[in-house]
Symmetry: C2
Subunit: 191 residues, 2 copies
DNA sequence: GCCGTTATGAACCAATCGGTCCATAACGGC
DNA sequence: GCCGTTATGGACCGATTGGTTCATAACGGC
C-alpha cells in the first residue's frame, strides 16, 4: 500500500512549526509530529533528516517571518507605530490562537538554555536580528544611533517580557496597559 | 546492604531545585535527580511521591525564597533601591552561577504552558505574588496605589524580560544598561 | 540480645522515546 | 506495457523514560 501521494512539504513544516510553538521542542514527540503533518515515519526522515533538523528549520522560518512582518508594518505606517503594533498584535488577534503561544524564539531560548546550547544560541541570534530591526525603526523615527541602540536593547528586554507574559493567560488589559505606558515613554524620549 | 544512613531531606531538595532550575522539568530525568540528590530510587519515591510533586515543592520553595529576599532588601535599603538591587543581583554575582539560570518561575511558565497547564499556572500565581511585593515597595516609595499597580505591572513585564535575557549569555552590560534606564524612568515617575 | 519498624539498594516493569530497515507500490521514461 | 526509480507504510530496534516491588539490614524500644 505504499506511495499514495507525495505530501506537501511546506504545509507539513507549518504544521510542525505550530506544534513546536505551542508545546516546545522536548514535549513534541515524533508521534505528535507525524500525526499533525499527516505523513509517515519514512517520509519524515527522508525529507527532514531529524527531529532536531526540522526544529532548526522551523526556528529559522519563524524568525524570517517575524522580520518580514516587521518590515511590512514599517512600510505602511510611521516607524514607532509599526513597533507598537508589533507588540500589541499578539493580544488583539483573538481569533489568532497563537496569541497565547508567545514567541518561538523566546520559548526556545529558555527551554534549551541548559539542555541544547546550540539550539538556544541559534534562537538567541535570531532575537539579535530582530533587535537590529527595532534599532533601524527607531533611527527612522529620528533617534540618534546611540539612542536607537539603547532603546532597541530596552525594547528587546520588553519584548521578551511580553512574550513570557502572553503565555500566562492573564486578562488582556494586564498586558496592553504596560505596553502603552512603555511606548509613551519611548515617544517622549525621542521627541 | 540497605540502610546505611538517613539522607538529608532539605539538602536533597536543594540539589533537585538546582537541577530543575538549570535544565527545566522535562530535561531533568529521574537518573539525574537521584545522582544529584545522592539517594536511591526507593528513598526518592518514599520521600517525594513523584517527580512532579518534588518539582512543585521546588517551585514553592523557590517562590518563597525569592519573596523573602525581596523583603529583606526592602528592610535594609530604600524601597526602590531594593527593587533595582533585585534586578541587578542576577548579573553582578559572578560567583553565583545561577545568574545564567534566569528565574525558575519564568522558566516554568514558558516550558509548561502548552504541556502541563497546572504547573504553568502555579508558577504564574507565584509571579503574581512577587508582583504584589513590587507594588508594596513602590507604594512605600511614595507612589499612589494606582501608580504603584501600574508600575508594578510594568516592572513584572520587565522582570520576565530580564530573566529570559539572562539565559542568553550576552555581555553583562547589555543587560545592566536597560535596567538602569528603566529605573531612572521609574524614579522620575514617582518623584 | 531479641524484634518489629523502617529506610534502603537493586532488580524489574511497561511504555515511550527517536531512529532504522525493508518490502511494496505508484510513478515517469521509453 | 515493461522497468528502474523513488516515496511510502509498517515492522522493528535499542535506549531511556518514570514508576513499582521486594528482600535486606540498620535502627529504637524493651
Amino acid at each position: 500500500m505504499p506511495r499514495p501521494i507525495e505530501f506537501d512539504r511546506t504545509k507539513a513544516v507549518n504544521r510542525a512549526l505550530s506544534l513546536f510553538w505551542r508545546q516546545g521542542y522536548q514535549a513534541t514527540s515524533l508521534a505528535d509530529l507525524l500525526a499533525a503533518m499527516e505523513i509517515g515515519r519514512s517520509s519524515f526522515y527522508a525529507a527532514f533528516t531529524d527531529k532536531r533538523s526540522l526544529f532548526i528549520e522551523c526556528l529559522d522560518l519563524f524568525s524570517s517571518r517575524t522580520i518580514d512582518l516587521l518590515h511590512r508594518s514599517r512600510a505602511t505606517m510611521p516607524p514607532v507605530d509599526a513597533l507598537q503594533d508589533f507588540f500589541v498584535r499578539n493580544f488583539t488577534g483573538t481569533t489568532n490562537a497563537s496569541g497565547h503561544w508567545g514567541c518561538l524564539l523566546v520559548n526556545t531560548v529558555l527551554e534549551m538554555a541548559g539542555v541544547d546550547v546550540e539550539l538556544s544560541a541559534r534562537a538567541s541570534r535570531h532575537l539579535n536580528e530582530i533587535q537590529r530591526v527595532f534599532q533601524a525603526c527607531l533611527q527612522d523615527a529620528g533617534a540618534t544611533p546611540e539612542q536607537a541602540e539603547d532603546l532597541a536593547a530596552m525594547l528587546m528586554l520588553f519584548n521578551e517580557g511580553v512574550r513570557v507574559s502572553s503565555r500566562r493567560r492573564l486578562p488582556h488589559a494586564q498586558h496592553l496597559h504596560p505596553i502603552a505606558t512603555t511606548f509613551r515613554l519611548i515617544r517622549s524620549a525621542i521627541a
